[in-house]
């Protein structure tokens, strides 16, 4: 119970952002002509927000499955970096590990990125991930069901996700106050878009990883 309460507190901000973005995605599914419950299936089974937006565009255009697979790989390749800090070692048990890796979304990663999360309990981590999934699936379903009720003139709700990542980025910066790293992070993210186009996320992440490696080799703030 105490763990559920801690998880609810930790995930509040994600709940707000997921609700806004989930409703936006549900509305898009409703407007695409698919039955509303496909929104719920996408949200619960794929459970990767940005991929679901891309996937909806692909399936309504009847794209071949190979193209779907390529998109899934490109959009979600950034997740390979999350194993570096996500506290999976705090989640014993095969089924629990299976769920915890399945539900390792950007939000779950970001909420466990602070050093304190390395000693959270299994219950707290699993409750946190389950709550994020409930927020996401619930808001997507609501959006799909009420899709026709939202006036077409209301746009821009998707900024909630941008704001969520901005806020979590500022908090990640506050944990270490590493100004050169923060400036380089922004530069790598922008350079990724200029240099790599469709592969911007992988490109930006690769550049930033290279920067961290060089700094490690140079001995600056190693392991700090």
């Amino acid at each position: 119970m105490q763990e559920l309460r801690a998880a609810a507190r930790d995930s509040l901000a994600v709940g707000v952002a997921a609700a806004a973005m989930g409703v936006a995605f549900g509305v898009l599914v409703a407007r695409s002509g698919l039955p509303w419950w496909w929104a719920t299936v996408f949200a619960s089974v794929v459970f990767a927000g940005s991929l679901e937006f891309v996937l909806l565009g692909l399936v309504t255009a009847l794209a071949p499955l190979g193209q779907v697979a390529a998109a899934a790989f490109v959009v979600n390749a950034r997740h390979v970096f999350y194993a570096l800090s996500f506290p999976l070692h705090r989640v014993p048990g095969r089924i629990a590990k299976a769920y915890s890796t399945f539900a390792l979304t950007d939000e779950a990663y970001a909420l466990t990125a602070a050093p304190a999360a390395q000693c959270w309990s299994r219950g707290r981590i699993l409750c946190l991930q389950a709550l994020v999934q409930v927020y996401w699936v619930g808001s997507v379903t609501l959006g799909a069901l009420g899709g026709t009720l939202v006036p077409a003139a209301v746009v821009g709700l998707d900024f909630a996700v941008t704001a969520l990542f901005v806020v979590l980025g500022i908090d990640a910066f506050r944990a270490r106050r590493d100004v050169p790293a923060a400036v380089t992070a922004v530069a790598c993210a922008l350079l990724g878009h200029v240099l790599f186009g469709g592969q911007a996320m992988i490109g930006g992440m690769g550049l930033f990883t290279a920067y961290l490696l060089v700094r490690y080799a140079a001995g600056g703030r190693a392991g700090a």
């Binding site: 901000a13 299936v41 950007d106 941008t162 704001a163 878009h193 911007a200 961290l212 490696l213």
Partner: protein
């Protein structure tokens, strides 16, 4: 209209690849957990990941046509400013999103 069988296959392919990308790196990283290099990367990564995610969510903002991304810039300023000042995650997200929706839906379009 896409067939249910095709949609299910697309969902299954997406879910399998996503889960693989999330789960398999742990199998490779397990033995490296004690490495100081991995600790250094893990500690430094969040700021970089968030910057990349922010840029990703803003990739389709049209800068070349009016209002030249101004609603997004003002919403970003609202969220960043509020978060530096008040440190209240929910307030920063709600206020920034409200600024964005109001400007984009009603004023600057």
């Amino acid at each position: 209209m896409p067939e249910p069988g095709y949609l299910l296959a697309a969902v299954a392919v997406s879910a399998a690849i996503t889960w693989g990308l999330r789960a398999l790196p742990f199998a490779l990283l397990g033995p490296l957990r004690r490495s100081p290099l991995v600790a250094h990367l893990g500690a430094g990564m969040p700021v970089g990941v968030m910057a990349v995610l922010v840029a990703h969510t803003l990739r389709d903002v049209p800068l070349a046509v009016p209002p030249h991304g101004l609603p997004t810039a003002l919403a970003l300023a609202t969220t960043v400013g509020l978060h530096l000042w008040r440190r209240d995650i929910v307030l920063s997200i709600v206020a920034g999103t409200a600024v964005h929706v109001v400007l984009l839906s009603a004023i600057l379009r």
